[in-house]
């Protein structure tokens, strides 16, 4: 009733194979895009952008990246934090070495460099699987963090080992550094998030994505029907790391502005992004967004309710936050192992039939 496809006829193949074949879905998608691009920048303020929207958009890119690797290609990775660090440090080195090049290209190139590093660390995936691969990527995580802490060249020999984002502009508007406007940083990250989502969505719908999923579902069977595991696994690592690198670059340059690798890109970050895709839904682009929103917004919301509205002590609220987020993760794993994306799919099915259940 509310959500129906009756009267929604496809007369050509492209119509049938578009991303959102149901008209209602498509309009909802356009509506979200229009609101995000044309309405949100006007209501943005420093608080909203720095505590909710920038982390949400940037984590969404990281979650899309990890979802390609883990959700679509089935390769478990615990190295997300390390790969984000590669993106951040690549972006920093590029920003300081080539100050005249637009930051937009630096972020893209930082993603490219991360893709190379990710592919290198993906090589063991040809020989090892499952938990053992997770441990190999865990090694990448620790190695990369150690590397950026140890080799002073990466942080331009600064005394403290911190990297600081210098001011950079896009079309004459500052997007990094302390004097940025809230809407500018928001739009800058939004462009990358939308781009990442569209590219990822179309990759996963095409032949590359089908190869990844074949490898995920059963690698031997995939090999027998002619999927090259070397190519499939390494492209998954490369594409995934590319997105993760972009998110790391944005995380450093636009969101935080100053980064200390051990604290910001530690193992917790890898787990956080992994939780995002597990809660959001493995193998779903919408799931990446849902998971990122869930884990970014929920703590802020709990803090606002607990500390600011109820006036509870900050430490109690901080502890409750851990309990509630942890409890919800367990609840999701038990009640809906396929995450928020699956809940959404079920809701759609119900809405299609509503109010007639049969």
């Amino acid at each position: 009733m509310l959500y129906r496809e009756a009267g929604d006829f496809s007369t050509t193949y492209p119509q049938d194979s578009q991303t959102f074949p149901i008209r209602f879905d498509r309009y909802r998608y356009y509506f979200v895009l229009v609101v995000a691009v044309f309405v949100m920048p006007f209501v943005m303020n420093d608080y909203l952008v720095n505590s909710i929207f920038l982390p949400f958009l940037i984590y969404a890119i990281a979650a899309i990246g990890l979802n390609i690797l883990t959700g679509y290609c089935g390769q478990v990775s615990l190295g997300t934090g390390g790969f984000m660090a590669v993106g951040a440090y690549a972006c920093y080195k590029l920003m300081t070495a080539f100050p005249d090049v637009n930051i937009f290209f630096h972020v893209i190139i930082a993603g490219g460099i991360t893709a190379l590093v990710g592919t290198a660390f993906g090589l063991p995936s040809l020989r090892i699987k499952g938990f053992y691969l997770a441990v190999a990527t865990l090694a990448a995580q620790f190695f990369l963090v150690w590397l950026f802490n140890k080799v002073a060249w990466f942080y331009n020999y600064s005394a403290s080992g911190q990297i600081n984002a210098p001011e950079r502009t896009v079309f004459g508007i500052e997007v990094t550094g302390p004097n940025t406007e809230a809407w500018a940083t928001y739009l800058f990250c939004l462009v990358f998030t939308i781009g990442a989502a569209i590219v990822a969505r179309n990759l996963t719908r095409g032949s590359v994505g089908r190869q990844w999923m074949a490898i995920r579902d059963m690698d031997i069977a995939a090999e027998i029907i002619g999927v090259n595991p070397l190519k499939a696994k390494l492209t998954a690592f490369a594409v995934s790391s590319f997105f993760v690198g972009i998110s790391g670059a944005l995380f450093f340059a636009v969101y935080l502005g100053a980064v200390e690798v051990g604290e910001v890109f530690g193992i917790q970050k890898s787990f956080l992004v992994l939780f995002m895709i597990i809660i959001g839904g493995l193998g779903s682009i919408f799931g990446a967004f849902a998971g990122a929103a869930f884990l970014v917004v929920l703590p802020v919301l709990l803090k606002l309710v607990g500390v600011d509205l109820m006036g509870w002590p900050t430490d109690i609220v901080a502890h409750f936050q851990l309990v509630i987020v942890g409890g919800l993760i367990i609840m999701f794993l038990i009640l809906e192992p396929h995450g928020i994306a699956q809940l959404w799919r079920v809701a759609k099915e119900k809405l299609r039939l509503w109010p007639f259940p049969h």
């Binding site: 420093d46 608080y47 403290s160 502005g257 002590p313 900050t314 502890h319």
Partner: protein
């Protein structure tokens, strides 16, 4: 969904904004996580001093002080969220008690015209006020600490040819003193050995094995949180003589030595303020805060080293606010006025006595060129049987001949990097 969250957040923020007539002192505290042992007493001391001012004097210059607490968990991302959520409330000065968050806030707060007071932490070269207009780190900084430790060792005997190890938290904080110590080792001819400990520092077996093997004569530690207790315990395990082990002021609280028990006896730590609760101000805290049931936290930290430091930080902030009220002739000051007050702050012995803290901290003047005070450093020692810290040296000068050029160099690098024109 997005719109809904936005409306929620704005509604919550409006409900949360306090009356603007208060003097808002945000406290970016951390009562959770691996650094909570240090964060709790500091936050308690900071809050209690302002509560006492409100109860005893009716605020500062007739305006009530309001401490807005926000939990960071020593995490930079939460620190950013806390900064953004409190700055709209008219925050006068930020004291994040974290070098990482301080680095984060230096450019942001400067752009927003809000001062930062990173007392004994943060970016050391912020002592050069010509470059760092909104950052203050009086009365002492990390490099004063490094030099103070070396000076103390020199007063105990010749250090030429000796081997001194630096056990440091592998972060911006721990790396700060390395350059100073390298310069000092050249100057005084001792050998420096660097031993890094990664966050959070619960596992230090290999580091202390290295120390056991290479047998340094002295160990200097720049640690924080759980790392301190582990290091003291490990030092005890390898039977490293405690009197040769000296920590920076962030590695010298009760929490750090109590777990090791008697083995920690004789451990030393630097300080830039007095220890114990034998000061008249604590009587006022008791009458006006504790007895009225207004103490922050669980109220069991009073008189500990870090509680005293939080109290000292609050006292300096309150004095700066008074100075600012005097300069601008208005009781209801803005963050920009607060900055002027901090830059004109004068702490004299007479003032300290009047505040009930005679001999608690050094006398110093802040000026536009010098945001770092005069960097006097003392040494305290732990007595495990009495469970007390006691001062074992005078507050003495550090080697500014070595430190000043380093400050100039690092602040010049920052100015060049961020396009700041230095000047007063």
């Amino acid at each position: 969904m997005k719109m809904k969250i936005a409306t929620w957040a704005t509604a919550a923020m409006m409900a949360a904004s306090p009356v603007m007539a208060d003097l808002v002192f945000p406290s970016l505290s951390y009562r959770t996580g691996p650094y909570a042992a240090g964060g709790i007493p500091f936050a308690d001391g900071y809050a209690d001093y302002f509560t006492m001012l409100n109860e005893r004097d009716g605020g500062i210059g007739g305006v009530m002080a309001n401490v807005l607490e926000c939990e960071t968990g020593y995490n930079t991302e939460k620190g950013v969220e806390c900064y953004e959520s409190t700055k709209g409330a008219g925050a006068l000065v930020y004291q994040p008690l974290s070098t990482g968050i301080t680095y984060q806030l230096i450019p942001k707060a400067t752009a927003d015209d809000i001062p930062i007071h990173s007392m004994g932490y943060g970016r050391t070269s912020a002592a050069n006020g010509a470059v760092f207009s909104h950052v203050f780190n009086y009365p002492a900084n990390y490099w004063n600490g490094a030099s103070g430790a070396i000076n103390y060792l020199m007063s105990q005997g010749d250090i030429a040819g000796k081997k001194i190890a630096l056990v440091y938290h592998n972060s911006a904080y721990g790396k700060e003193p390395i350059r100073t110590l390298e310069e000092l080792s050249k100057k005084h001819g001792f050998e420096l050995m660097l031993v890094a400990v990664d966050h959070p520092g619960q596992e230090q077996k290999s580091q202390w094995l290295q120390i056991r093997r290479e047998r340094p004569d002295n160990v200097i530690m720049y640690g924080w949180g759980v790392m301190n207790q582990v290091a003291v315990q490990e030092a005890a395990n390898i039977r490293f003589p405690m009197e040769n082990f000296i920590g920076i002021w962030w590695s010298g609280s009760e929490n750090d030595v109590l777990p090791a028990g008697d083995a920690a006896n004789g451990y030393k730590a630097l300080t830039f303020h007095g220890v114990g609760s034998d000061f008249p101000v604590f009587d006022d805290i008791k009458t006006h805060v504790v007895d009225k049931g207004l103490a922050a936290g669980s109220g069991d930290q009073i008189g500990t080293v870090l509680y005293n430091r939080g109290l000292y930080a609050a006292m300096l902030a309150a004095e700066a606010a008074k100075t600012a009220q005097g300069i601008h002739g208005t009781a209801d000051i803005t963050p920009a006025m607060m900055r002027d007050g901090m830059e004109a702050l004068e702490i004299t012995e007479a003032k300290m006595t009047e505040l009930g803290l005679p001999g608690f901290g050094p006398s110093f003047n802040v000026s536009c060129e010098n945001h770092g005070g005069n960097g006097l450093v003392g040494v305290t020692q732990w007595d495990a049987s009495a469970k007390t810290w006691s001062l074992i040296s005078e507050f003495s000068e550090s080697d500014m001949d070595v430190i000043q050029p380093l400050i100039d160099e690092d602040s010049a690098a920052y100015a060049a990097e961020s396009g700041i024109e230095a000047g007063c």
